[in-house]
């Protein structure tokens, strides 16, 4: 951590010379192949242009923006409350985290504090969402590598989480669970029982996923040593989240700069050693178990009290700006909000973890084979809604 960067930063970018006349692959050793926007493996509309020498990847270039919806521009024409549902749609897999980051950022700007009960509810739902996001990641990543069955197992178990969300706020995926100032909905009757039942339900399932994959020789061969990235490269490229932790940097925003009641809970941060795909897999599996630990502590100690702070109906934050970030399942999700004193934000900038993590793809797959590109895209856990906003 904190190493000086000795590598030439220009080496982080490969130049693909796409403007040159088209050389068919019979003429030269290098082949430019397009993994088009529609592809079963790329988790959304992502286009990756690969320069290959036979099977080896010499360089990649990602073309993104197919899902760009202008969320930041829209934010300038909506009030703070009206913008709340939009943030769910960015990382639609982990919508609750997006909402948490935004609501907390605006609360800071308004200088209000969500009450403790709201914070506990927020933590429980966010950690449930982290579990759901990691389960989806595991299923799709295994499917890309060829193991078809874990996908169905993880989606089946994810259903339990989505049922809890549906009972709580009416939506499964884009939940809009939180409001500025706290939570709108009180927990439903049986919420604690449902969550407790889920906490007991999931650990044997995680063991089942591990049994299928962790010691499976083919899985290990496909993931060990693939997509290595060192800790200093991660820091230089701004990569955060499980990718950073798998490279050995023990840093998690929930511990470094706690928000929303995380300081009340006792949990570990898993780290890896070599920064390859296998370590990222292990780190995320362990994160799932730690999330369960947090939920268990939170659900036993939910305090009574109001769930909404006193927030004016017409929100006009004082002139100023704020940057607030949280540890989303994918990495550091940040909101930079500039207020000009009116009801609409002057500028909202969303710092998406997947966008910055995707920059690392080029470095991670150089020198590897084509089949590894798909494994690495899967292991970076990107959601194009967040990359493109």
């Amino acid at each position: 951590m904190g190493d000086q960067i000795t590598k030439d930063p220009a080496s982080f970018i490969s130049h693909l010379e796409l403007d040159q006349p088209d050389k068919t692959f019979l003429d030269s050793n290098e082949l430019i192949i397009n993994m088009g926007p529609q592809h079963p493996a790329t988790h959304g509309v992502l286009r990756v242009i690969l320069k290959l020498d036979g099977e080896k990847v010499l360089g990649t270039e990602c073309v993104i923006g197919y899902l760009h919806r202008g969320v930041e521009k829209i934010a300038e024409h909506r009030t703070y409350t009206m913008f709340n549902p939009y943030v769910d749609r960015m990382d639609y897999v982990a919508a609750v985290s997006n909402g948490l980051g935004y609501c907390e950022a605006v609360e800071k700007l308004l200088n209000v504090q969500a009450p403790p009960r709201a914070n506990y509810i927020r933590v429980i739902l966010t950690e449930l969402n982290r579990l759901a996001s990691h389960q989806l990641w595991l299923g799709t990543h295994a499917l890309d590598i060829g193991a078809m069955t874990p996908l169905f197992y993880t989606f089946r178990d994810r259903e339990e989480i989505l049922k809890i969300f549906e009972k709580y706020c009416g939506a499964r995926l884009t939940t809009h669970a939180f409001r500025i100032g706290g939570c709108l909905y009180e927990t439903y009757d049986g919420f604690e029982q449902d969550v407790k039942k889920f906490i007991d339900f999931l650990p044997p399932k995680i063991d089942e996923y591990e049994e299928l994959l962790t010691t499976n020789r083919i899985w290990v061969e496909r993931t060990k040593g693939v997509g290595k990235i060192s800790a200093s490269d991660c820091i230089a490229l701004g990569v955060t989240g499980p990718v950073l932790r798998a490279s050995g940097v023990k840093w998690d925003l929930r511990k470094a700069q706690p928000y929303a009641a995380y300081s009340d809970f006792d949990f570990d941060i898993p780290i890896g050693q070599s920064g390859d795909t296998y370590d990222r897999y292990l780190v995320r599996m362990e994160e799932m178990r730690q999330s369960l630990r947090i939920i268990r502590q939170a659900v036993e100690r939910i305090p009574e009290g109001p769930i909404m702070a006193k927030v004016p109906k017409v929100m006009k934050p004082p002139v100023g700006e704020i940057y607030h970030s949280i540890e989303a399942p994918k990495g550091e999700l940040g909101y930079f909000i500039v207020s000009d004193g009116s009801t609409q934000p002057y500028r909202i900038r969303v710092r998406p973890p997947s966008f910055v993590n995707l920059q690392a793809l080029d470095l991670m797959v150089r020198g590897q084979l084509v089949a590894d590109v798909i494994a690495v895209i899967g292991t970076l856990d990107i959601v194009l809604g967040e990359v493109d906003r």
């Binding site: 192949i33 099977e55 060829g146 069955t149 083919i218 496909r222 084979l369």
Partner: protein, 416 residues
């Protein structure tokens, strides 16, 4: 003329040995029909079994429990538009699936369903099978080339490289089994398929258990190599959809694609029959040497009938569990009919004359069916090997082990 037909019935040889063209053609029709039905059943079983592994149901609507799904698929593929890429080499494009199909189906003329239940018994049977099934590599390369697109070409080259690599290990494993056939009184082995099973009978041991663990290791090598040979999971990188190159059959659609699939399933059944013949005692019933005697023979001869009655019972349980809604009436009746047919076959299989004649064929098919189920099980469970790892396994792991097994078998065979 009638003599020609009936004279065969009294001889105790295969039609090939007897030189009887009429009966050879009859047998060919029967085997061809049987393999086609087996391929359709395999298609259904794969979808249902894979689905159940993945906690889903699979096809349920087309016919009761999806039993008519293969027929629906066949009709769909037949009526699809026949797309040929404009720059493709038309003749080669048309020829490639035919070559694969012919190569995969021709090997069935030596597959021994019983001591005289084969179309013919070439004295180089196993060599013929391995040789002809290798011709399908040619079809694969032709398919990739004729598509005139670099993704299929890369997929075809990968696929053919994979198939050729694993044939070497397969061949070595087969040779070690052949060596074991020569361990009889006069020291001559045989390459004929029927002869190999008879050698196992004469030596009173299935070759998988001979010189344990050598026979077992040779069987294991063959079992792995045959999965790679037929481009099935976990060695299905050349034809996987989520990889970059979608395989040599990318540009094929409709009937032509279904010919590829037909050839692939037929090849699977063919190499499974090789494995069954060489190591698992072919048409012999289980435990031929430990559980001997007439009572045990009787018990085992009743198993086919009980199996079909059991399947009929499962079908009737399915009927009982069908929803009692008028929309399901046809399906319920269909399933009940299917169950009745199975039960009838079971009852017929109890009749003594049928029982005696059906034994060999039944046990052979049952063992091949176990292998088919294993294929589906592998597909559901394992991730895919990357291409370089696949080649490494074929050349650096399987080949040395198979050569070692061969040498050890030879040494022990001489010493013992």
């Amino acid at each position: 003329m009638l003599d020609y037909i009936t004279s065969y019935l009294s001889s105790n040889t295969t039609p090939g040995q007897a030189g009887n063209v009429f009966w050879a053609l009859v047998y060919i029709m029967v085997v061809f029909g049987g393999v086609s039905v087996a391929v359709m059943a395999m298609n259904w079983l794969e979808r249902k079994a894979l689905a159940h592994f993945q906690i889903r149901l699979g096809p349920m609507r087309v016919g009761p429990h999806g039993l008519l799904q293969p027929i629906a698929d066949a009709i769909k593929l037949l009526t699809k538009e026949d797309i040929v890429p404009s720059e493709a080499d038309k003749f080669v494009f048309w020829l490639a699936p035919l070559i694969i199909l012919c190569a995969s189906f021709t090997v069935y003329i030596v597959v021994p369903f019983g001591p005289t239940h084969a179309i013919t018994d070439l004295n180089i049977g196993i060599l013929f099978m391995l040789g002809v099934s290798s011709l399908s590599v040619l079809g694969v390369v032709m398919a990739g080339w004729a598509s005139n697109s670099h993704y299929p070409l890369i997929g075809a080259l990968r696929s053919s490289a994979q198939m050729i690599s694993y044939e070497v290990a397969m061949g070595m494993a087969v040779v070690s089994a052949i060596l074991m056939t020569s361990l009889n009184a006069d020291g001559t082995g045989t390459l004929s398929m029927i002869g190999i099973v008879q050698a196992q009978q004469a030596q009173h041991t299935w070759f998988i258990f001979k010189f344990f663990p050598l026979g077992f290791i040779a069987f294991g090598i063959f079992a792995i190599a045959m999965v790679a040979e037929t481009n099935r999971a976990p060695f299905d990188l050349p034809e996987a959809e989520s990889e970059l190159t979608a395989g040599f059959h990318t540009e094929y659609s409709g009937l032509r694609w279904s010919l590829f699939m037909l050839g692939e399933y037929a090849a699977m059944i063919a190499v499974s029959s090789i494995a069954v013949t060489l190591w698992l005692g072919g048409w012999m019933r289980p435990f031929p040497n430990t559980l001997t005697g007439d009572t045990w023979d009787l018990v085992f001869s009743l198993i086919p009938g009980f199996l079909f009655l059991g399947l009929a019972l499962i079908a009737f349980i399915g009927v009982a569990r069908m929803p009692k809604h008028p929309y399901f009436r046809i399906q319920t009746i269909g399933l009940a009919g299917f169950g009745a047919v199975l039960g009838l076959i079971g009852l017929v299989l109890f009749a003594p004359p049928v029982r005696d004649r059906i034994q060999d064929i039944f046990w052979f098919c049952a063992k091949v069916a176990v292998f088919m189920y294993l294929y589906i099980w592998y597909r559901a469970t394992f991730p895919r090997y990357r291409f370089d790892q696949l080649m490494r396994v074929g050349w650096k792991v399987l080949l040395p082990v198979s050569i070692g097994v061969l040498i050890l078998t030879a040494i022990i065979g001489v010493l013992v």
